[in-house]
């Protein structure tokens, strides 16, 4: 719990205060309060329709919340477009990864941010920097960074997407179900990658409903249900049964027996 105490003193990287988003009759996000701490891996869990996707779309600037406030490093911000979110340092990696199959790894990593010298693309510099970033992330499995992304496995593609985010100096990387389509060994690769990302001081928000992955990689967890955060806190104060209880019913009998976990659920 000492770990938790030191966190409280520091200002979270991003704080959501009463964030609401409604689509017609559907209240997709219904007053979310959530702190995401610098350099930590926070998992966002919840059943289908709990509002996970709506929440990350709010954070990545795809739409503005109807109500509530977002604080970035303690200061209120408005995320009106993906560009504004990116300018702050928020990068979102969606499930489809948004890679171009016909371009190679370097070209994908620099897409939209190419290095230009003498009016032409500076392939040498881009390749060298891509190589550096990939080796920092210990992505060693690709045979050549000049091979087209179409020839990569699912885990390798995820690695390229993460490296692309690192390349853009992201402070907060949001990953939407990064392991959903992967096999066992590739999942392990991606989870290891997420940990290395956090060890570099990058804050990670992982959306997942695979509890094994969450316990493997996350420092903190927030459980969403019906557009609200029903429980949040350090992962060490939870166990899988409790999380399932929160995801399905919004409360847990098992929790009420333990006061420290109960407060964890209420504090945010």
């Amino acid at each position: 719990m000492s770990d938790n105490d030191s966190e409280v003193e520091r200002v979270p990287l991003i704080e959501l205060r009463g964030v609401k988003k409604r689509f017609g009759a559907v209240q997709a996000v219904n007053g979310v309060d959530l702190d995401i701490h610098t350099g930590k891996v926070t998992a966002l869990a919840g059943d289908n329709g709990a509002g996970k996707s709506s929440l990350i779309k709010t954070l990545s600037g795809l739409w503005e919340p109807d109500e509530g406030q977002i604080l970035w490093e303690g200061k209120p911000v408005h995320l009106r477009s993906p560009k504004e979110a990116e300018a702050l340092g928020i990068t979102t990696i969606y499930q489809d990864l948004a890679l171009c199959d016909n371009l190679d790894i370097v070209q994908n990593m620099f897409l939209g941010h190419e290095v230009v010298r003498h009016f032409t693309l500076d392939e040498g510099t881009m390749e060298a920097r891509a190589k550096e970033t990939l080796s920092e992330l210990a992505v060693t499995t690709v045979r050549s960074i000049r091979q087209p992304v179409a020839s990569l496995s699912g885990g390798q593609r995820q690695s390229v997407a993460v490296a692309k985010a690192v390349m853009s100096n992201a402070k907060l990387v949001i990953m939407d179900e990064p392991t959903a389509a992967l096999g066992v060994s590739q999942t392990a690769t991606v989870l290891a990658l997420i940990k290395r990302l956090a060890s570099r001081g990058v804050t990670v928000l992982v959306i997942s409903h695979n509890l094994n992955d969450i316990f493997e990689v996350a420092d903190r967890i927030a459980v969403l249900r019906l557009g609200r955060v029903v429980a949040a806190g350090p992962i060490s104060t939870f166990n899988p049964e409790v999380i399932v209880d929160y995801m399905t019913t919004g409360r847990s009998e098992r929790v009420s027996a333990n006061p420290s976990i109960a407060t964890a659920g209420v504090q945010n």
């Binding site: 032409t120 040498g124 992505v139 060693t140 060994s185 392990a188």
Partner: protein, 448 residues
């Protein structure tokens, strides 16, 4: 595998679990797909050739089927008619090809974006008509001004199409189809309103740069100088880049491959110059490289540089493969699309000038709707994909030459227009079938 990347990475990141590596070797799909990129892993000539053979077996045939097809067509026609490979006919064939190549180049921009441009045929006609009218004695403009106005008109038509497609979200097929129909009418209107048109024909004055584009020849010494300078420049740039990349530890093809490419380019260029410098006149001596050939090659080189070395080109490929990924990367997708349609129309305009120069005139009977199909055929036969994201400037060059060989050869052995069109159709189908068969075989061996 002496790959600098894997070497350094394994040194720095030895403790990292290398689980994915195992996967790459066991996963059949991954192994098969990686073969598509084996060339980038090769470091010696032998390795490179082996990788290349493997790549062809895996369905990434590149320019090979078209080159084989071209050889086949040449052999067939040469057997039928021994004049086919005479220097006079080769020059004639290449000049004919110039028009198809330029139209096909324009079309390639649209195809890379996974769009189609059905208007290039009539855009070429409209541009050439404007230029020729302004050059005619009734207007008497200087050649450069007439050319600029004609090409700008083409580019503007292309830009308007691009804006309609991107801003109103109309399908490019419909917008350019409307252009095809509408510009056919505009062409007739231009012939009605220009004073220079006599009996539905605007003639080109038989002197001046536009006429000499096709009908003027470089002197023998000039053509050799241009060849030596061009190949020398190519050698310096490509070998220089190769050695610089090696020095920085970046991936580069084996030096022998780069040298080989330069040698092949030099030999091909020399053969072209020699063939063109043989006397091909019947009554008066006639020899030399027609100006249009180096100009078309220049356009191919410039557009190739645009596609491979600039952001605009890179974004075109990105949009062709995944517009959504491009949009999320902050690329202004609409603007790039508009640029592509503008460049397509501009290139078609250059083709129109070549067309008019070859015939010495342009007539109201100009058949833009047939020519656009030749343009699409040239790009597709050459290897550009109709599904976007793939296609190179050189594809249009190869496809254009192949179509010209068919058209020229059939005319030479006296086949009617009916036969000519049927034969061209068969060549198109054959080219796409071979491509599709090779690809399918590739995908079936990889997926298993």
């Amino acid at each position: 595998m002496d790959n600098p990347l894997t070497k350094t990475d394994q040194a720095t990141a030895a403790p990292a679990p290398d689980t994915d590596h195992v996967d790459t070797h066991t996963d059949a799909a991954a192994v098969g797909l990686i073969a598509a990129a084996l060339e980038v892993l090769a470091n010696s000539l032998g390795e490179y050739v082996r990788a290349w053979v493997k790549r062809i077996r895996n369905g990434e045939s590149g320019a090979l089927p078209i080159l084989a097809g071209l050889v086949l067509i040449i052999v067939i026609f040469q057997v039928q008619q021994s004049k086919f490979l005479s220097s006079g006919n080769i020059v004639n064939l290449l000049v004919q090809a110039a028009f198809f190549v330029l139209l096909g180049l324009g079309e390639t921009f649209a195809l890379i974006l996974s769009e189609i441009d059905l208007s290039v045929g009539f855009i070429a006609g409209v541009g050439a008509t404007i230029t020729l009218a302004l050059l005619s004695p009734s207007y008497g403009w200087p050649w450069w001004a007439a050319v600029i106005v004609g090409l700008v008109a083409c580019a503007v038509i292309g830009a308007v199409q691009g804006i309609l497609i991107t801003r109103l979200h109309l399908p490019s097929f419909v917008v350019t189809l409307a252009s095809l129909l509408g510009l056919g009418g505009v062409l007739i209107f231009l012939f009605d309103s220009f004073h220079g048109a006599v009996g539905g024909v605007i003639s080109l004055p038989t002197s001046g740069p536009i006429y000499n584009l096709v009908n003027g020849n470089m002197s023998a010494s000039a053509s050799w100088i241009v060849l030596v300078v061009a190949v020398g420049l190519y050698a310096v740039v490509s070998i220089g880049r190769n050695t610089r990349r090696r020095a920085r530890g970046l991936s580069a093809p084996p030096l022998s491959i780069t040298v080989l490419t330069v040698v092949v380019a030099g030999v091909a260029g020399a053969a072209l110059v020699i063939v063109c410098n043989v006397n091909r006149g019947n009554l008066v001596p006639l020899s030399g490289v027609p100006w249009v050939l180096p100009l078309v090659l220049l356009v191919v080189v410039v557009w190739n540089l645009l596609l491979t070395k600039t952001r605009t080109g890179r974004y075109m490929y990105a949009i062709g493969a995944s517009p959504e990924a491009a949009r999320r990367a902050g690329i202004r997708v609409q603007r790039i699309r508009t640029v592509a349609f503008t460049l397509s129309a501009f290139t078609a305009g250059l083709g129109g000038l070549v067309f008019a120069s070859r015939l010495g005139s342009i007539s109201v009977g100009y058949d833009g709707s047939t020519y656009v199909l030749y343009a699409v055929a040239a790009a597709v036969i050459g290897g550009a994909s109709l599904f976007g994201g793939h296609g190179k400037a050189v594809h249009a060059l190869l496809g254009g030459v192949l179509i010209a060989a068919v058209v020229n050869g059939l005319a030479l052995i006296g086949v009617s227009t009916a036969g000519e069109q049927i034969a061209t159709a068969l060549v198109l189908l054959a080219a796409v079938t071979v491509d599709s068969l090779v690809r399918r075989r590739g995908s079936s061996t990889t997926v298993q």
